[in-house]
């Protein structure tokens, strides 16, 4: 849509709108950062935009007096294991869906897409009982398996689109040249679908890093908890220490935003192919 009116008023409207969007999108984060750097006295006084006496005391307290470092380590461990497992499983699956003809292929592809619509809350009860029967309650393996399963439908469909875009002739040429199929895939196909793998990896990381429900239900002991549940516990434990809670918020947000900023263009590409749920 083009806004009508004179050039000046059009430009003004545009920049006013952009400023509004910036305020909505970024200000809450700025406020979180600002609060996390304030000493207790300033937090409960008349609010100032930036701390008058910036301090890292809240961060020090967060790491010294709580289990935050343990939650952080658990989140990193679970998220990266999930990403690795999901990429291997979905790359194999997507390759199979695009390179082999076999009975039931389309049915399987359709079923996988359907599961994309399911929200975890709709199966969490039987899921919990199943995990219990398998003896996996209170293990990180249970989390990794849940996240992998819930990322698979999206990653399979995303990678399927990328594999389809690689011409079959390229692979066949490599095969004719005497390379075995694994080598042909590794040297010819994988480099070409790398943007897809990166996008799928980011989506998986974000889902695993952010999840609250599975971690809430499947993990019971404090030293195995991941960040979202751990921080919620900190929040509920005593009188809320806002400075420390905001410091925790900053620490959880930084990896996501750093990751995201580094690979934004791949992410947008992936979005075009199907979007993340949430």
């Amino acid at each position: 849509m083009r806004l009508s009116g004179g050039t000046v008023s059009r430009t003004t409207t545009l920049y006013a709108g952009a400023a509004g969007l910036l305020l909505i999108g970024a200000f809450p984060f700025f406020w979180m950062l600002s609060t996390s750097l304030k000493p207790a006295g300033e937090i409960f006084a008349t609010p100032t935009l930036v701390p008058r006496h910036a301090t890292l005391a809240n961060f020090v307290q967060l790491f010294r007096e709580t289990n935050f470092a343990v939650y952080f380590r658990n989140s990193v461990l679970v998220s990266f294991t999930t990403v690795a497992l999901t990429l291997v499983v979905s790359a194999l699956g997507a390759y199979s869906l695009t390179r082999f003809r076999f009975r039931g292929r389309e049915t399987v592809a359709g079923l996988i897409l359907m599961t994309y619509m399911f929200a975890p809350i709709m199966i969490i009860i039987p899921f919990y009982i199943l995990v219990r029967q398998l003896g996996l309650v209170n293990t990180h393996l249970a989390l990794v398996l849940s996240y992998t399963t819930f990322c698979l439908p999206f990653c399979l469909w995303l990678l399927r689109a990328f594999f389809l875009s690689v011409p079959l002739e390229l692979e066949e040429a490599a095969l004719v040249d005497g390379a075995g199929r694994p080598r042909a895939v590794w040297h010819v196909v994988l480099p070409l679908v790398l943007p897809g793998l990166i996008a799928a990896g980011i989506f998986t990381f974000i889902l695993a890093w952010n999840d609250f429900l599975f971690a809430l239900v499947l993990i019971t002991s404090d030293e195995l908890k991941t960040l979202p549940v751990g921080v919620n516990d900190l929040f509920n434990a005593t009188i809320v220490d806002w400075g420390m809670i905001m410091a925790a918020g900053v620490m959880i947000t930084v990896p996501t935003i750093a990751f995201f900023a580094g690979v934004q263009r791949y992410l947008i590409q992936g979005w075009g192919a199907g979007g993340v749920k949430g």
Binding site: L14, F29, G93, L111, I121, I125, F212, L227, P228, F260
Partner: protein, 285 residues
């Protein structure tokens, strides 16, 4: 060979999604404790119970209010932001990245952020309202009167970026000639939006409304984290939260499973109706 490579995916999805769905239906016919193995067949009794359960009906009402209000606001805000970000101005790419942030962060961060901004004694919102003289005493935004509004605000902030990015992706593919032609015909900005943009983006809107509708109606973490389990939580207890509470607080897994089945049936019905009402034969997504 084909099946072999696909096997890990199929096994995981069949074992951890499809089997639980079927098991869930089976489970809803039993009285089952959440932790203990004991169970007793009760047939459809749970469903009969919920038919007259005031808590159930209120959770459906709260769910509809929550999903409905957040949907309308997300669509309005999301579409306006996407139209703006489709214009050319300096810093546009950076802003496109920034508006996505709220969607990328964990829900717990969105919730603690807004709980702090809306805090009754020390929150920035109340401070600004009082400093500007709009209110005289602090408003209890997280108390029972306003908790639903605060929850809606937090959710709209968190989930609108999905609408922005998805809508923007489609906007970028509209041929500029269409707008030029409309301009030659003397159409103003509003008429160009109604006669060019809207018809062109019909399909993507169809998908956005479908996905966001399903995801808002089944949203658990934002609602649960915003209101907790006791206190004000009963003023925002939507169906997913009620199903969770039945299972993991009252430990009645069978009843919780029945609620999940009802949720699924409601969504299936709504989706079928939605397709009937809004899906044209001529358009293809």
């Amino acid at each position: 060979m084909g099946w072999l490579l696909l096997a890990p995916s199929v096994l995981l999805i069949a074992g951890l999604v499809l089997y639980p769905i079927l098991y869930n239906v089976w489970l809803s016919l039993f009285d089952k404790h959440a932790f203990l193995p004991a169970q007793a067949f009760v047939g459809l009794r749970h469903y009969q119970y919920f038919a007259t359960d005031e808590e159930f009906w209120s959770s459906v009402r709260y769910g509809l209010v929550y999903a409905g209000a957040t949907m309308v606001l997300q669509l309005g805000l999301g579409i306006m932001a996407a139209l703006l970000l489709n214009e050319a101005f300096r810093g546009r790419n950076l802003l496109r990245g920034i508006v996505l942030f709220p969607y990328m962060i964990p829900t717990i961060v969105a919730v603690i952020l807004w709980k702090w901004l809306l805090n009754d004694s020390y929150g920035l919102v109340n401070h600004l309202l009082m400093a500007s003289g709009l209110v005289r005493t602090p408003v209890a935004w997280l108390g029972k009167d306003y908790i639903m509004w605060s929850l809606i605000l937090t959710s709209v902030w968190q989930f609108s970026p999905f609408v922005v990015v998805t809508y923007l992706a489609r906007l970028q593919t509209i041929p500029p000639e269409l707008y030029e032609a409309a301009k030659v015909d003397g159409a103003g900005a509003w008429r160009r939006f109604v006669h060019v943009t809207l018809p062109q983006t019909r399909n993507v809107l169809f998908v956005i409304v479908l996905l966001r509708g399903i995801w808002m109606f089944t949203k658990f973490d934002t609602v649960w984290l915003m209101a907790g389990e006791g206190g004000v939580s009963r003023y925002v207890r939507t169906l997913p939260v009620y199903a969770y509470a039945r299972t993991f607080t009252y430990l009645q897994a069978g009843m919780g499973a029945a609620l999940a089945v009802i949720m699924f049936a409601l969504l299936l019905g709504a989706t079928a109706l939605y397709f009937r009402l809004f899906r044209d034969e001529e358009v293809v997504a």
